[in-house]
Symmetry: C2
Subunit: 205 residues, 2 copies
Amino acid sequence: MPTAEEQISDQRLLKGARARAAIARHAADVASAEGLTGLSLGRLATDLGVSKSGVATLFGTKEKLQLAAIESAREVFIQHVIVPALSRDKGMPRLRALIDNWFAYIAEPVLPGGCFRVQSATEFDSRPGPVRDALAADRADWFALLEKEIRRAQDQGHLTGHDAHALAFQLDAIVAAANTAAQMGEDSALTTARGIVDALIGANA
Amino acid sequence: MPTAEEQISDQRLLKGARARAAIARHAADVASAEGLTGLSLGRLATDLGVSKSGVATLFGTKEKLQLAAIESAREVFIQHVIVPALSRDKGMPRLRALIDNWFAYIAEPVLPGGCFRVQSATEFDSRPGPVRDALAADRADWFALLEKEIRRAQDQGHLTGHDAHALAFQLDAIVAAANTAAQMGEDSALTTARGIVDALIGANA
């Protein structure tokens, strides 16, 4: 049995972790619309009705807050786009599910600014440092996942004649462009983009 | 003959216009890498060694500075990508030149952060207001130009079976993705993207 003192300490840790996760999630919301550059400890404290010193204690620097927002947004993407696709058969069905889930994620954004990856990659692509490194690592994971399922689909006899990396690049480019266009208010963009993807990898069964 | 007083007044206007253009161009440089959000009158004044009040007199608000940066970046794009293409024959040759010039513009960026349109569109797509309106207008012009040359190419017997808007969407998406990937340091991205474009509209003669 833990002592009463240990229990209190555990509860404090848990409370800190929960507060940290809630603030990071709100930071991801804000950054999805206004960019990682626009994040500040003070802004988040005001939004959430907590003290700035409390936020500073949990995160330290603006850069650490940006990294926490990236991690939180990554978890949202994994949960909404990747996890549901993993229940589909490997190869073509899973590839199709990944793209369909991503389109759905863009059509009804979970984060207010749409797809965080699209937003943040262009925002930080010219600024070397830990934030760009984190975005590049996330991007590399995403491409590796797409390419793996494309290669499996090719082993199943689909998508032959495509270079796996080039096809992943193309699929990513089309859905990313659809996100920007949809956020810009171009209502037909998702239909256009879905049509392009169907022509590339075949319409969903 | 203008009076001496009129000449001095004209020179002052000219000097003001030149200073305004120089500051707007620097603002476009900064925003291409760090975003329009990161612009500030004080930062630009420090960079250029002028007084903050002087910059404030010329631009007024941060939003007006952002709009001036967009206009300046638009002129750079027109000068480097569009104008040289207009000397090519209408239709297929001009479409090909627009895309090739855009790739060249990304391979050796004129603005330090790469293509301003790609950067700023994703940055402001979720923030309604004059800045997003200016970016949307620029974007609409660009798509109209691409679609016009695609339709002309189709009248010449090329690119048949493509929807002009969908093809413009696709070309824009691929080159925009190449810009982000290149800025992220992915050296092979331009080769990959050029290959995709060649497969779409035919290799350059």
